[in-house]
């Protein structure tokens, strides 16, 4: 891929230059090269996951068998979920943008443990390959849903065991990344980068890293127990032997709820960078945003059982977890209001990153607010495990985390590759994507209200119309997505030079060349500016 940047004239290839060849990449300990390794591998799996989503939608275009059988469908949404969650959205922002930017944002030469960083990538790759291997070995692709609920997951004859170990390995990768980032933020800040001068993206990564560190081990344990249960049948969750199937769900969600904040917090960090830059405006409520990231991380570890409101849990459990769920929404609300206030009296440039950031505000709000509907005890009973939930989580994950990530790509790819994509095409792609997105997922809220359960291969005819709309939406979405990816790809290969600071950002990465030199900064630096150092009377140049 380094071939892609042909040294054009004076253009310096920075960390992309120097050593060439595959080995110089897959064994590199440079955080920037590792970030790109992640980018390429994660994006490949993203396309696989996307294609599966597309096939799911095709099947649902009409009741009955459309293009596949029930068993295939069940395997498809399982893989779609597993790939999207564990191979894509959990690692994507920390591993790609976090890896690339964290050292730059704090004025460091690399992360604290560069070799461990490389090892994390290898774990990611091995885990991913194991997940793929589960498709072709044993009793066929797993068909449990990404949640692996017992006792079904311990009884099905499909290849759940390998998938479980794959998730275990992926969890390891995530833990090591979190550990690395926490240590980096603590120990490697350049002189002058005090805690109140950290860019909010770094704060977000910091909060995320804590969740990765303290929640992921439970996931490792949980999937290991599934595998052990399948191999030895020890009966830990079997009621006939004194176990309790609901305890599995507790363990699973103890990780998997906090995991949704692993997905969204770094995205929120990106938004906190983009909005000030394109408004030429100091971020409003720096501390409110930083502290709310920590608050989300902490409170997020206390609400897991809102996924179990209809599971036969005790009423007290329902009371406690529903109440805490409403409280965890508050820090998100605080962030949204502070971002809005940042626009006030700024000068707003609707460049593609900003378009994604603003769309994020709306889509994430829709997703978050519908989270309240599924979090309230009375209404949760009706909406649980229906397409309403499917709508909710695609809005927060795709409309939230991934739109933020797309914004981040548009914002930082010119820094990473030193080249600019076509702004007009990017705007078009954004428009198509946004229209397709809403057409695809909004009908799911109505379907859910009407009672269509999720993970349904076949449905009753009264749900047909909205399913057709949704499927058509997915086609439009695809068009936008492919256009966007192609434009970014072409831009990074052969766009015009982007220059050091195309957007006028104030964080440290904009003070060095694009692409950044291998050693990042010329020796040790002393920082005396604030990451949001804008002044009244500024405009876009």
């Amino acid at each position: 891929m380094e071939e892609s940047i042909k040294a054009a004239g004076s253009d310096d290839r920075g960390f992309l230059g120097g050593e060439r060849g595959l080995r110089s990449w897959i064994f590199s300990t440079d955080h920037k090269r590792i970030a790109l390794l992640y980018l390429w591998s994660i994006m490949s799996f993203f396309l696989v996951g996307m294609t599966l989503g597309f096939l799911i939608r095709l099947e649902l275009i009409a009741p009955g068998a459309t293009i596949m059988g029930a068993q295939t469908y069940n395997a498809l949404f399982t893989l779609h979920g597993v790939i999207m969650i564990f191979l894509f959205i959990i690692p994507v922002v920390p591993a790609v943008l976090g890896n690339f930017l964290l050292p730059l944002h704090i004025g460091a030469e690399d992360v604290a443990f560069p070799r461990l960083n490389l090892l994390s990538w290898w774990f990611y790759l091995i885990g991913a390959l194991m997940a793929l291997a589960s498709l072709f070995t044993g009793g066929g692709p797993p068909d449990t849903g990404w949640t692996f609920y017992v006792p079904f997951s311990t009884q099905t004859t499909t290849n759940v065991t390998v998938a479980a170990w794959a998730v275990f390995v992926l969890g390891f990768s995530s833990i090591l990344t979190g550990l690395n980032f926490l240590t980096t933020i603590h120990r490697l800040r350049a002189t002058g980068v005090t805690w109140n001068r950290l860019p909010l993206f770094v704060w977000a990564i910091y909060a995320t890293a804590w969740i990765q560190l303290l929640a992921t081990p439970i996931l490792g344990l949980t999937v290991a127990l599934i595998a052990i249960e399948r191999i030895f049948q020890i009966g830990l969750f079997d009621p006939a032997r004194g176990g309790d199937p609901l305890m599995y769900q507790h363990l699973f969600w103890i990780y998997s709820h906090p995991a949704v904040y692993i997905m969204i917090l770094p995205g929120m960090g990106i938004i906190s960078e983009i909005i000030p830059t394109f408004s030429r405006r100091r971020i409003f409520g720096y501390w409110a945003i930083a502290v709310s990231s920590l608050a989300i991380a902490f409170a997020g570890s206390m609400v897991w059982s809102h996924h179990m409101l209809a599971s036969g849990m005790s009423d007290m459990g329902v009371f406690v977890f529903s109440l805490l769920t409403f409280l965890v929404a508050i820090p998100s609300a605080v962030k949204v209001f502070n971002w809005l206030a940042t626009l006030y009296k700024g000068t707003i440039w609707l460049a593609p990153p900003m378009l994604y950031a603003l769309t994020f505000l709306v889509l994430f709000s829709i997703g978050g607010l519908t989270g309240l509907v599924v979090g309230s005890a009375g209404t949760a009973i009706h909406t649980h495990d229906t397409h309403f939930v499917v709508g909710h989580f695609h809005y927060v994950m795709f409309g939230g985390a991934i739109f933020a990530f797309f914004g981040g790509l548009h914002y930082w790819l010119p820094k990473i590759y030193g080249r600019m994509y076509n702004l007009r095409l990017a705007t078009w792609a954004w428009g198509i994507l946004t229209v397709g997105f809403n057409l695809l997922y909004f009908p799911m809220f109505i379907l859910g209200m009407q009672g269509m359960p999720r993970r349904y291969y076949d449905y009753l005819p009264q749900y047909t119309t909205l399913n057709v709309v949704s499927t058509v939406g997915s086609w439009i979405l695809i068009a936008g997505l492919l256009l966007m990816l192609w434009n970014l790809w072409r831009g990074s290969r052969s766009g015009p030079p982007a220059g050091m600071n195309p957007w006028g950002g104030r964080t440290l990465e904009w003070t060095i060349a694009s692409p950044p030199p291998k050693e990042n900064f010329p020796g040790e630096i002393v920082v005396s500016t604030d990451p949001y150092d804008y002044h009244t009377g500024e405009g876009h140049s």
Binding site: G107, E109, L182, L188, T216, P217, L236, G242, L251, E524
Partner: protein, 199 residues
């Protein structure tokens, strides 16, 4: 500050963070223990009688002693007493082996009675007893794996000390491996009363 001065503290912080994840990993098993104990106090008590208090106590004492050796070996290295360091490390590794051998006998005794996952004795047990043994095997098994890893780690470190790559001026590898070993001990300090002592 930048990475050139401070890699000692950096490595140690990294190790501690890793230990936190280990605490949570075993913590998950303790969550299960707490809940199942709550559901089946009788079953747990009667099953716990089946475990040998003697083995458990000896293993506890052994492990605590090994922790002393490791802790002292660090002080020794810091003071430059290399021979003493090596002696203490060998002691620790020896103790780790004794622990594992003990564990082996303990497990095989259970196996001989048909108590193992899906073993012949299991269907006759009360539900609470079955989960007790399930948890017992998973927890002590996972702990055993940690003992093994810790032992191997310390062996590598001991060779490092002998070769001189780990010395008075650069001992963070010993310190970190020691931390890991202490964690293994720490976990056992809780496993012991929970599985052997409650009646």
């Amino acid at each position: 500050m930048s990475q050139t001065h401070g890699s000692y503290g950096t490595a140690k912080l990294g190790m501690w963070l890793f230990l936190f994840t280990e605490i949570i990993l075993f913590g998950g098993l303790f969550v299960l223990y707490a809940v199942y104990y709550y559901f089946h106090p009788q079953g747990f008590a009667s099953a716990s009688h089946e475990l040998s208090l003697g083995f458990g106590t000896v293993n506890t004492l052994i492990l605590l002693t090994s922790s002393l050796f490791v802790a002292a070996s660090l002080s020794a290295l810091q003071k430059g007493e290399r021979r003493l360091t090596l002696l203490l490390l060998s002691g620790t590794i020896l103790v780790a082996l004794i622990f594992l051998v003990n564990k082996y006998f303990e497990w095989s005794e259970k196996f001989a009675h048909g108590i193992y996952p899906n073993g012949p004795a299991m269907p006759n047990l009360a539900p609470g007893e079955v989960v007790f043994f399930a948890l017992y095997f998973v927890t002590t098994g996972l702990h055993g794996i940690h003992v093994l890893i810790g032992g191997v780690l310390l062996t590598v470190i001991a060779f490092g000390v002998r070769r001189g790559s780990i010395h008075q001026g650069d001992y963070v590898k010993l310190e970190n491996s020691g931390l890991y070993w202490h964690l293994v001990d720490l976990i056992w300090i809780f496993i012991f009363p929970l599985y052997y002592l409650i009646l």
